[in-house]
């Protein structure tokens, strides 16, 4: 079908992929600088680096999405000219993107044949694909339901469809970009088992991630990228997480957050039987009970899409709900006119939303304008009935200084800051208002390690000032590092609360999959079946 004549002839010495001197610039930004890398066949090669280090750009060049400014690509020892995705597929490269490229209202089978049909009539193609799916399932343990609609299956299953798409196109080289970002620990384990099996069948795998644990667990070789450059390639067995982390950021970082035990005070946030029904009539929160005290961090763990977003939205005032929510002992409105961001702020609630680019900032607005949002009625920002732009800019400049936002230029549009700096901008706006309660969602999503450290320190510092913090994150490590108490959400409910020093990722992982009897052993299949029950909306946050 799309076989390439350069394949099939075993050249034992030749690397499956060799990149020589790849450079790529986007305007003034050098995304890739003179990158050379050799990936040996039948291995799993990890590429690790902070966000914005250029990993995805490099892989996009390999998959024909971008054209490199300079450099050469060799596949199985032969020079390849990869001008588009078609050429990459023909060269035997398959890619599983971080954001799946699936047609949601197509069946699994239709998604698999799309672009790789065998003729202009569909039925023969579908029949052929159905047969080969059975074989692929047998060879690699990749079971899927061919006639299910993609929108009805879970995220883990969707990812499997992406892998099958590549294998159906006879890919020998599989690139996976941040594959575990949306998976539970159990699903991730299952994925790694599949990858191991693919490797033993002779496939070459490139795994892009920023998670050190995954690199250590599954890769044979690991390359580290930093600021567009390849800083090192080492055998995984001969390195350590600490060394890799250091290579990634160029200095030693604390993977754990330094903090003293919490000294919780009065209850600041008290939530009783909170329910949210979305506009499709689906109950997204099904009776949430929780409280957060002054001077403590309550971490909400869970797979994305199990109601965490709705919890933040209803508390933040832009989603209607029912139930009783008290802040400092006083009831707050959950519907109607008195339920909006403005009235929440008046009650001492600050909110750093999950999606900073859509809810936290207006990307086309400058930093100072973004800083004024929500606080534009502040007398210090006004001069008569007009806004005092000079004062806002001066205040923004100060905040940017204190929160180490780089570059510290209030007139720069939000979209021109990196993810970490955008987040610091939002944090500066919210924290500097001295709230009693901080709602914070995915504080370090898409943020590089240097900024993660800073953001974590700010959260702990705020806690130490006696503020209450409700933290929502899909990163278990982050939850474990920051929280004084952990509540796990599944399918719109709190499955249980744990203390971080009395639990581990395994127990939390089971709770995240809706299994409460965590003492017993559970099979992956059981966990998956349970997750499937929660519905396909786990993909919502992707």
């Amino acid at each position: 079908m799309t076989a390439n004549d350069s394949r099939g002839q075993p050249e034992t010495a030749a690397p499956a992929i060799e990149l020589k001197g790849i450079s790529k610039a986007f305007g003034p930004v050098q995304a890739n600088k003179d990158i050379s890398i050799r990936v040996m066949p039948g291995t799993i090669h990890g590429i690790i680096g902070e966000n914005g280090a250029g990993k995805s750009t490099l892989m996009s060049i390999l998959y024909g999405f971008y054209k490199a400014d300079a450099g050469e690509i060799f596949i199985a020892g032969r020079k390849a000219n990869i001008t588009d995705s078609q050429a990459a597929i023909a060269a035997g490269i398959g890619m599983v993107f971080q954001h799946f490229k699936l047609v949601e209202n197509f069946t699994v089978l239709e998604n698999i044949i799309l672009g790789a049909e065998d003729g202009w009539k569909l039925r023969p193609s579908l029949n052929k694909a159905r047969k080969s799916l059975v074989e692929l399932a047998k060879d690699y343990g990749l079971n899927v339901e061919p006639d299910a609609l993609v929108q009805d299956i879970g995220v883990g299953m969707q990812q499997r469809v992406e892998i099958l798409k590549a294998l159906y196109r006879q890919a020998d080289i599989l690139i996976l970009d941040e594959p575990t970002g949306v998976l539970t620990p159990a699903e991730a384990d299952q994925l790694f088992r599949i990858l191991g099996r693919l490797r033993s069948e002779g496939k070459t795998i490139i795994l892009i991630t920023h998670k050190l644990r995954e690199i250590m667990e599954i890769t044979d070789t690991v390359s580290v990228m930093r600021r567009g450059e390849m800083t090192a390639t080492v055998q995984t067995a001969e390195t350590s997480p600490a060394e890799l982390a250091e290579l990634m950021v160029g200095r030693k970082v604390l993977l754990r957050v330094d903090k003293t035990p919490a000294t919780p005070g009065e209850v600041v946030l008290d939530v009783k039987n909170l329910k949210v029904v979305d506009d499709k009539g689906v109950e997204r929160l099904r009776g949430i009970n929780l409280n957060v005290r002054a001077g403590e961090v309550l971490g909400i763990a869970g797979v994305a899409g199990n109601g965490q977003s709705e919890l933040l939205e209803v508390l933040g005032g832009y989603q209607d709900g029912t139930g009783e929510v008290r802040v400092n002992g006083q009831l707050i409105d959950l519907t109607g006119k008195k339920s909006d961001g403005q009235s929440r702020r008046a009650r001492g609630i600050a909110h750093v939303p999950e999606d900073r680019q859509r809810e936290g900032l207006i990307m086309e607005y400058q930093a100072w304008e973004n800083t004024a949002f929500g606080y534009h009625r502040d007398p210090a920002y006004k001069s008569g009935i007009l806004m005092d732009n000079a004062a806002i800019r001066a205040d923004t400049a100060e905040k940017m200084e204190r929160f180490d936002v780089r570059p510290p230029n209030p007139r720069l549009e939000a979209k021109n800051f990196s993810g970490g700096n955008q987040q610091k901008l939002v944090l500066a706006r919210e924290i500097e208002r001295n709230p009693d309660l901080l709602l914070i969602g995915q504080p370090t999503r898409g943020v590089d390690i240097g900024a993660i450290e800073f953001i974590h320190q700010q959260i702990v510092a705020l806690r130490d000032q006696g503020k209450a913090i409700l933290l929502v994150s899909v990163e278990l490590e982050e939850i474990l590092a920051l929280s004084d108490r952990i509540a796990v959400m599944f399918d719109g409910k709190i499955m249980g609360e744990r203390l971080p020093d009395q639990t581990d990722e395994k127990e939390l992982g089971l709770l995240m999959a809706g299994i409460t009897d965590t003492d017993r052993d559970h099979s992956v299949e059981e966990v998956e079946a349970n997750l499937a029950h929660a519905g396909g909306d786990t993909s919502k946050e992707v």
């Binding site: 890619m95 490229k101 047609v103 569909l122």
Partner: protein, 322 residues
């Protein structure tokens, strides 16, 4: 209401539904590929003029039809360049095409024919005549079936039969061929098509071109079959009603047939107020019937009768992302 009146009403429904159906299917191809097209109206109008004008000049309705299709496809190409190649706003491009067609047709008509923005009346071979199907005359006198066949099914122009044949053809193309699979995919998630190594741009241009052909036939039908010649603004909002029908039909070919027939029936009733008065006992304003397609579409959009979910990538230019 007697049987013959009913047959006449349905006959009129078929004739009025035909341009709506063609335009609706045109929009279906375009929108299923992710290109919203509110320029159906303009394309129809341009095709109506050019087919009538060329048919009048050459005396051949078939050359006129080709000219109409060519005119409609030129405007479709314009829409394609604006919205696919230059990733412009599809609504603005569509509005521009409507204005362009409304002004240009009258201007050229006046320049060519000096008849106040009309074309001369078409006669003989310059017009699509009704086709009498085999046996129509023979069974015309048979009760019930006779009039049904002779009056309702037989006697329409070739374009009517083409329009109705286009429904199963469209269904088959969309759901049973590789092209259809890719076309539907590109309207739902162009990134999936792109990463599968298929050209998003190529597919979208193909869809827009098909849209142009169908709008061309719809326009030609207006001026060379339904009427005998072009008059100013003769498309009279049919492009918009076709869009309403498309939403009503939830972007599906067979539903499009029922939706346009229903809207065609409203049109037929508008011309026969006496029928409504006879049946329901009081007079209904013709304007109300004219507004019904729009009202019903609003009801559909509000989600009262199931949900009409448009193609997910509709209206958005495709920009490659990592």
């Amino acid at each position: 209401m007697d049987y013959m009146t009913l047959i006449q009403l349905l006959d009129s429904t078929v004739r009025l539904a035909t341009p709506l159906l063609l335009a609706c299917l045109a929009g279906l191809f375009s929108e299923r590929a992710g290109i919203f097209d509110i320029g159906l109206e303009g394309k129809m109008l341009a095709a109506a003029f050019f087919s009538a004008a060329v048919a009048s000049l050459t005396g051949s309705v078939w050359i006129g039809l080709l000219a109409g299709i060519a005119a409609s496809m030129s405007l479709a190409a314009l829409h394609g360049v604006a919205s696919i190649t230059f990733r412009g706003n599809q609504l603005i491009s569509g509005v521009a095409i409507n204005f362009l067609a409304a002004g240009l047709t009258v201007l050229i008509a006046q320049d060519w024919f000096s008849q106040g923005g009309r074309t001369p009346s078409l006669m003989g071979g310059a017009r699509f005549e009704g086709i009498t199907l085999p046996g129509a005359d023979a069974i015309a006198d048979v009760p019930v079936i006779g009039p049904l066949y002779a009056e309702l099914i037989s006697g329409h122009s070739i374009l009517v039969y083409m329009a109705f044949a286009a429904v199963p053809l469209t269904w088959w193309l969309l759901y049973r061929t590789r092209f259809g699979l890719r076309l539907r995919a590109v309207g739902e998630n162009p990134a999936a098509v792109d990463t599968a190594g298929v050209s998003v741009v190529g597919l979208r241009y193909a869809a827009v071109a098909i849209c142009g052909v169908l709008c061309g036939i719809a326009g030609a039908y207006l001026s060379t079959a339904l009427q005998a010649g072009f008059v100013k603004d003769m498309s009279a909002g049919r492009g918009f009603i076709a869009l309403a029908a498309l939403i009503f039909a939830k972007w599906r070919p067979w539903y499009a047939l029922w939706a346009t027939l229903l809207f065609g029936l409203f049109g037929a009733l508008e011309t026969r107020p006496d029928v409504i008065e006879n049946v329901i006992g009081f007079k209904v304003q013709g304007q109300l019937l004219g507004a019904l397609p729009y009202l019903m579409t609003v009801v559909i959009l509000a989600g009262f009768v199931g949900k009409a979910i448009p193609p997910r990538a509709g209206g958005e230019p495709y920009v490659k992302e990592r």
